[in-house]
């Protein structure tokens, strides 16, 4: 089984995010592998360690700096990387990225694509399901457990009525929930080995995907960023627990109509 893991390098949203002149201030922000992509990658590496997967290929569509993210993914256990690095892809919307990934999918022919539920910077969640649709394979989103060795896998996913247990015959695309696993930290050995693992750099033209992505083809565009609405400063109560509990309870009843 061959697994393809699309990943994205994002600004670390754990940090303090500032907005100025309609843009997110990049100064002081660090770039990291998006959280849910780590869960997807961890699942892929575990399938390889279990002998279920033969190869884990990690891919990103992104700028030069995103190469670091691919090295990190290989340090965590991916076998090789594909970096779609092309200024023509800049400013792509979700569908543009999905078209590029689908073109790569047609070339790599993975049995399984493991993606994150959504990217941490946009929180959009479009690329995974769109890629599956364009490739004509089923998409199972928000997956919390993967069992089996293929060609049929049993997956558990969040459903609207409860936990759904679904048998899926590959090829398919799965998006990872953060309950799927606890992503490993790259070991020193892994980091050393990652330096020798192969990383291909491709352009849109290499993939036969020229003219399907990039700002010129993006029907969805972010016009500007704004800071979130400010919350009024809260009050913090310290002291004897029983005393402050009573004090806050009375405030909640009076000010917030706790008992409706």
């Amino acid at each position: 089984m061959k697994i393809l893991v699309p990943v994205k390098q994002v600004m670390d949203v754990e940090l303090n995010v500032r907005v100025a002149a309609g843009k997110v201030v990049e100064d002081g922000m660090t770039l990291v592998l998006s959280k849910w992509d780590e869960n997807a990658l961890e699942a892929a590496v575990q399938l390889k360690e279990a002998g279920t997967a033969s190869e884990v290929v990690v891919v990103t569509v992104g700028p030069e700096s995103a190469g670091e993210t691919l090295r990190k993914a290989m340090a965590m256990g991916a076998d090789r990387a594909v970096h779609v690095l092309d200024p023509a892809a800049d400013g792509s919307d979700s569908l543009g990225v999905a078209r590029v990934l689908a073109a790569l999918g047609a070339k790599e022919k993975p049995d399984l694509i493991l993606a994150g539920l959504q990217a941490q910077d946009t929180d959009m969640g479009g690329v995974g399901p769109m890629t599956a649709e364009l490739m004509g394979i089923p998409c199972l989103s928000n997956v919390t457990k993967i069992e089996g060795t293929g060609p049929t896998l049993t997956i558990h996913r969040r459903g609207d009525q409860g936990r759904e247990v679904i048998a899926v015959t590959l090829p398919a695309l799965i998006t990872a929930n953060d309950s799927l696993n606890q992503p490993r930290l790259a070991s020193l050995k892994g980091i050393m080995m990652a330096k020798k693992k192969p990383m291909d750099t491709l352009t849109l033209e290499n993939l036969g995907a020229a003219g399907v992505a990039g700002a010129a083809h993006a029907l969805t565009q972010i016009a500007e960023f704004q800071p979130p609405a400010a919350r009024a400063a809260g009050r913090k109560f310290t002291g004897e627990p029983e005393v402050i509990a009573k004090e806050v309870f009375d405030l909640l009843v009076k000010e917030a109509k706790l008992v409706g």
């Binding site: 569908l95 910077d121 399901p129 009050r235 109509k257």
Partner: protein
Amino acid sequence: MAVVLIVAEIKNGEVRKPTLELLAQAGRLGLEAHALLAGAGVSTLADTLAGHGAAKVYVSDDPSLKTPFPGQITQLADTAAGKSSATMVWFSPSEVSRAAAPALAARKGGSYASGLNSLQADGAGWTGTRQAMATKVVQKIKLSGPFQVMVFSSGAFEAGGAPKAAQTETLPPPPVNPQLSLKEVAVEEQKGEVDLGEARVIVTVGRGAKDPDGVAFVKKLADALGAGYGSTRAVVDSGWRPHSSQVGQTGRSVAPEIYLAVGVSGAIQHLAGMSGSKKIVAVNKDPEAPIFSVADYGVVGDLFKVLPVWLEELGRLKK
């Protein structure tokens, strides 16, 4: 008049409120609303959709749609959008729409945005706002092109209306992808618990409750308040509460009038799922817990000492 197709979300035999909000909003924007009603035993709900503004309801009522795969909904929405000449399809946030909505955008080559909480016409397209980066920024986003697919956050708009006779058209159920087979739906929601999406008050329990006994203890507060009972990912991953109770980006996003976070530290993925709540109350022993950064009322103290006082006070009020 431009037509928008609204994919109705049904739960426990009722149309969920976010769908009614979208129907009302379509009218306010001068759009003709059509609805897709897909499920098992749902036909009678067409009149509810009509009463809230659906000029036409496309009904696909079949046992195979009891727990639909997103692909079935994508197919039905595509068919209904074609029949109604809709240029937009709107979804409420759900586990089905997470996958069905982007797939529809890909199929139609359309623009796509999720998590929208406002929308206005902008030339030939639409401009909306949505939160991103774990709700730390707001994006103003423009959707253009001949076809748009949008997922809105719940509570984005006001609902209004009353049932009236619907004009309906029946759609045959779409085939199930032969690669997929549903083995089980483990319904984890505890009987009698208030739906988190509709609750005025939510009590959420975090790891500070320590163990299953602590989780059961905090539930007493939810019960006494008639509140929904949510939990953090840590509590769910420990197996103390069902997945369906998880509040946060990978679970449910909620925005009740009052949100009481009990023993919740406040990971950003959790904060992003509840920071739209009107009033936030936090109880935590750790004065540095990030939850206090969003709390209107922050109680720095042991929940096992604070909650007994609240339970006693509530008991007294009820008498």
